[in-house]
């Protein structure tokens, strides 16, 4: 589904509850370069609306937010600034 994106780094947030997936994403994004793509995997069911809100607030681009159907959620975030 997202094979066209080149992932720079993957962040494992499985098993973490709110607000840690968002917090860890922010810390990981800080260390990347503009244009890099971060893949984040979470199991927190609130992570889709939270990551959407996070992207709106920070301005980074949420390329993919998908429910993998196995209790995991996958996100691709492009660092824009």
């Amino acid at each position: 589904m997202s094979a066209q994106y080149e992932i720079t780094e993957t962040l494992d947030c499985k098993g973490l509850c709110c607000p840690m997936p968002v917090v860890k994403t922010k810390i990981a994004i800080k260390k990347l370069k503009v244009g890099d793509i971060l893949e984040m995997i979470a199991t927190d069911p609130g992570s889709i609306p939270d990551m959407e809100a996070w992207a709106r607030q920070t301005g980074h681009e949420l390329l993919v937010a998908e429910d993998l159907g196995n209790g995991e959620y996958r996100f691709l975030i492009k660092k824009t600034h």
Partner: protein
């Protein structure tokens, strides 16, 4: 977005029990993750949350909606809300320590970060932690009693920050 004025969150943390210790650090770290400026003003019973080891407990007494669940056993068992009379909760020595232990175990089982971990994230993301000078004096706290990175201030310090905040909460 980055060029615009940053959004700002101002929190007052005035409660020291475990259930009240979480919200300021959850909201603080969450907002800072979204590039907001955040300051948390710790006053009264919120001050001990700045000590290196947070020993916050939870009390079922005077907390009538707090469920008493067991953090082990099958799911149906964990869902039972044990009806424990106030007479026992208030008179059995160590009852609060036990209730705190059960709640911490439940949090751990569910993958909730500890209060210390969330506080560490706040500091890493630049959240300002401000200890109220007046209540420090009242309760006998010194700056050395707190973790590194804590500022000391009074009402004017908080209000100056809060005046331009988009969200202000008293917790």
């Amino acid at each position: 977005m980055a060029e615009e004025k940053k959004r700002r969150l101002a929190l007052i943390a005035s409660r020291g029990t475990l259930d009240w210790a979480y919200p300021p650090f959850i909201l603080g770290s969450g907002a800072a993750s979204m590039d907001w400026e955040v300051a948390i003003f710790f006053t009264f019973y919120g001050l001990p949350l700045l000590k290196p080891k947070i020993s916050a407990q939870v009390s079922p007494l005077g907390n009538p909606a707090m469920p008493m669940n067991m953090p082990f056993g099958p799911e149906w068992f964990q869902k039972i809300n044990w009806p424990i009379p106030n007479l026992i909760m208030s008179n059995v020595p160590g009852f609060e320590a036990m209730a705190t232990g059960l709640m911490k175990k439940t949090f751990k089982n569910k993958g909730v970060a500890t209060v210390e971990e969330l506080r560490e994230m706040c500091l890493e993301l630049g959240v300002r932690l401000i200890a109220c000078q007046m209540t420090m004096d009242v309760f006998g706290f010194k700056k050395e009693d707190f973790i590194d990175g804590v500022e000391i201030g009074g009402a004017a310090t908080f209000l100056e920050f809060a005046a331009d905040a988009d969200v202000n909460l008293f917790i």
